[in-house]
Symmetry: C2
Subunit: 125 residues, 2 copies
């Protein structure tokens, strides 16, 4: 059985964690695991293809946000709360508090992220 790579605690990068959490599907998954505990891949009620879910879970694992273990034919996912809280104190709590407070319906969030910003030619510098 293939061993999945997980970064060690001290290899977890702040920018990778923030990128992993900058997607509404991935935030939904993390929020669900936090409330329900270790979860199999098929527990996530998200309207996306299995291959897309696989990609999201891989992004979360490779950034150090989740730990994935094999159990029989299943993959079981947990949030690496202890590692994240030790490495970046307060970040996971603050982000999930904000997510739970603002995402009353996560599908709305998905739609707003998918919409294109207004086109313009502004220059900053």
């Amino acid at each position: 059985m293939k061993v999945l790579h997980h970064p060690n605690r001290d290899e977890i990068e702040l920018t990778s964690v923030l990128y992993a959490l900058s997607d509404p599907i991935r935030l939904h998954i993390i929020s669900q695991i936090r409330s329900e505990g270790e979860s199999p891949c098929n527990a996530f009620q998200v309207p996306i293809a299995k291959s897309t879910l696989s990609h999201h879970l891989r992004t979360l694992r490779e950034s150090g946000v989740v730990f994935t273990r094999s159990h029989g034919t299943q993959r079981l996912i947990t949030v690496r709360e202890e590692d994240l809280n030790e490495r970046f104190p307060g970040i996971l709590d603050a982000i999930l508090r904000a997510y739970d407070a603002t995402a009353s319906d996560w599908t709305e969030t998905v739609e707003s992220v998918d919409s294109e910003p207004a086109s313009d030619t502004e220059q900053e510098a």
Copy 2:
């Protein structure tokens, strides 16, 4: 003079803020403004092309992380701390605390982000 678009406080999206802060150059800029106050574009000591800096500043502005105002021929940038703290309490502080604690030399962070992860064909789901 072109008026730059800024999202209203209640239009600021969590995922957009996290994405804007998931880049070491942009984190460096935010950290510098927080410590030095409102800053002109040419104050940021970053080894990138002006057009690239412009792109980063635009990402920060459009996500709601910074406010950009024109003053003569200059653009002056501030962090929208009050808006961010009201909308997503604790997030900015937690992220910048983690950044300041781990990024002793931000160029190292840039290099680690630029490096390619090991290629593999792992499947999550």
